[in-house]
Amino acid sequence: MKILIIEDEPQMLDNMRDTLEQERYLVETASTFAEASFKIGSYDYDCILLDIMLPDGNGLNLLKQLKDLGKEEGVIIVSANDSLDDRIQGLNMGADDYLPKPFHTAELNARVQAVLRRRNFEGNKYIEIGNVVIDPESRSLTIADKEVILNRKEYDILTYLISNKTRLVTKAALAEHVWGDHIDQADSFDFIYSQIKNLRKKLENATIKVGAVYGIGYKLELD
């Protein structure tokens, strides 16, 4: 899988590349509009992460360029400017997703996977990990061919952890992903623990398990 990151802030770019390279993606980068425009014109990618505020141009014009070239890359707009206008405009112009800064590395990873999966839908309808099979379409789960019922939040937690398998997922990242943007000011993230406990019970017969990283978060481990 080939991914292009268009981002002008070098440290941000490093973090994003680091995060995605751990997933064994082939990552290329561009830090200016001109460089990005050249790479888009010359190569094909599976997914493009696009910062729309570039020093030498508006990233939305790159989206237009992609469209004009008839390219089908999955595009995730990454922006520090979480304005509704940009979001709507970006999605209308054919972007697949919109990820406002700051985000958690786990969230970036999950979003890229979601886009890649949607793009390569035919070959890969189910998510399989160990003896666990997930059908994203019906949001159902089987463990060793036996259906296990998860509620919405348990399902979201599990798929998020699977997207970030063997990687650390912080409590904050998990809470924001599963409970949404506005929940995050509530007291503490301790409430997640009881959800994880329930999930662990339902995964008893699975070859995956939810491990804890002391004080910080969780990690999906394969037996």
Partner: protein
């Protein structure tokens, strides 16, 4: 009162005063002229009578007004010498009018046939009351004609002259700084209107520019803060993944991450508040608050259970209101969040929808809080360290944006009420 009628009103009053004064002056000038001309006629008659007396001394015996309009009375030389010419106004019975009418008597003396006579000549005089009456009625007529012509002039001519002005006002009325100003100016030959047009359009343009600059500033400030925050958080997350740390080290890292998270939330909240106050949420759609409330309760279920709080919805009414969907959700979640954070464990938090009111009630401190202070920014009342102190100010800003009232009351429970229009 409209500008046109306003000037007409003053003109009508002014005209009334001017015409009244003018009528008085005109009346006296006219009267003076009439007397002058009558007196001239009387003097002329005296000269004619003198001439006639030479030819026909018989007329000197005429001593009353029955036959003629003159009378002769013999007088002494002494009286003749002392006499002064005079005019006198008096009344005399007129047969044709069957009434006493004013007449003017000219008293003079003359010497004829070696004798002295006092001569009186009368002439019918203008009827003053008739004159005044006529004058008044004609002037009233004139007044109304003038006022009417002013009204007609105002409504036809002035309306056309003032058209650019009214056009501008009509457009300013619907002017909204959030949208791109689209004021079309009517070209006019009047210098003042041109000045007004150019001034107004300059004002609007600069206001719109400031508005955009402010909007841009918020966006830039957000950009400047979000990126370093994102870098720090991601760097820490990557660091934690790549290194195995001791529990003690992890604790410290967790604390740093937590604080970065707080900083992020604070930044986002400030941004949200500025955006609401800068009216940047223009899209609106009908929101079913019963559905939304149920969704929010589902979102918060785990947190409530974790705190041992029974979070429930009690609806006896339906609330539909047109507003921005994100803001509606933020309004509700902020109120529920606040109730959950401050609510005592093992006590209920109740969301109720009744009488077009949405209420969130929670138990907490036993005494009421300062109703104004709790909506002020960064006023944390006995709050946990993790709250931003912006939740309720944001809720209030959202309510105010849509002219809803959000108020706090205490009746053993802390109650926040959003009143929707009935």
């Amino acid at each position: 009162m409209k500008l046109l009628n306003y000037t007409s009103k003053y003109l009508a009053f002014l005209l009334l005063a001017v015409i009244t004064l003018w009528a008085l002056a005109f009346y006296y000038a006219m009267l003076d002229e009439i007397y002058d001309s009558l007196d001239d006629g009387l003097e002329n008659q005296k000269i004619l009578l003198l001439k006639r007396a030479k030819e026909d001394p018989g007329i000197l015996d005429n001593n009353d007004f029955n036959k003629h309009v003159y009378s002769f009375t013999p007088i002494q030389q002494q009286q003749y010498e002392n006499h002064q010419e005079r005019y006198q106004d008096t009344l005399m019975y007129m047969i044709n009018e069957e009434d006493f009418e004013p007449v003017r008597i000219y008293e003079s003396t003359l010497k004829a046939e070696g004798r002295y006579y006092k001569l009186k000549i009368i002439t019918s005089m203008v009827e003053e009351d008739d004159l005044i009456e006529d004058l008044v009625s004609y002037l009233i007529g004139l007044y109304f004609v003038l006022v009417l012509s002013i009204l007609v002039l105002n409504n036809l001519l002035l309306k056309r002259i003032w058209k650019p002005f009214y056009d501008l006002i009509a457009q300013l009325k619907s002017f909204n700084i959030e949208q791109k100003p689209q004021i079309t100016l009517t070209p006019t030959a009047v210098e003042e209107f041109n000045l007004l047009n150019t001034t107004v359009s300059e004002l609007i343009n600069s206001a719109h520019k400031s508005y955009n600059e402010q909007k841009q500033f918020i966006e830039n400030a957000s950009h400047e803060l979000q990126t370093p925050l994102a870098i720090s958080i991601n760097k820490l997350e990557l660091f934690l993944e790549k290194n195995s740390l001791t529990d003690d080290q992890l604790m410290h890292m967790a604390s740093v991450l937590d604080n970065l998270g707080r900083l992020t939330r604070l930044n986002k909240s400030l941004l949200l508040l500025s955006k609401i106050e800068n009216k940047q949420f223009q899209e609106a759609e009908p929101i079913d608050f019963n559905v939304l409330a149920q969704e929010c309760i589902t979102d918060f279920k785990e947190i409530a259970i974790h705190k041992g709080i029974d979070l429930k919805l009690h609806a006896t009414d339906g609330i539909q209101f047109k507003m921005n969907k994100d803001l509606a959700r933020i309004l509700l979640t902020n109120l529920i969040k606040n109730a959950l954070v401050h609510g005592k464990p093992q006590n209920p938090v109740t969301l109720s929808i009744a009488n077009k009111q949405l209420q969130v009630r929670n138990t907490g401190t036993a005494s009421p809080l300062d109703a104004e202070l709790i909506f002020a920014r960064f006023k944390k009342i006995g709050a946990t360290e993790k709250s931003t102190g912006l939740g309720l100010p944001i809720a209030r800003a959202i309510a105010e944006k849509y002219n809803l009232t959000l108020r706090y009351t205490f009746d053993g429970e802390h109650t926040f009420t959003v009143q929707f229009p009935k």
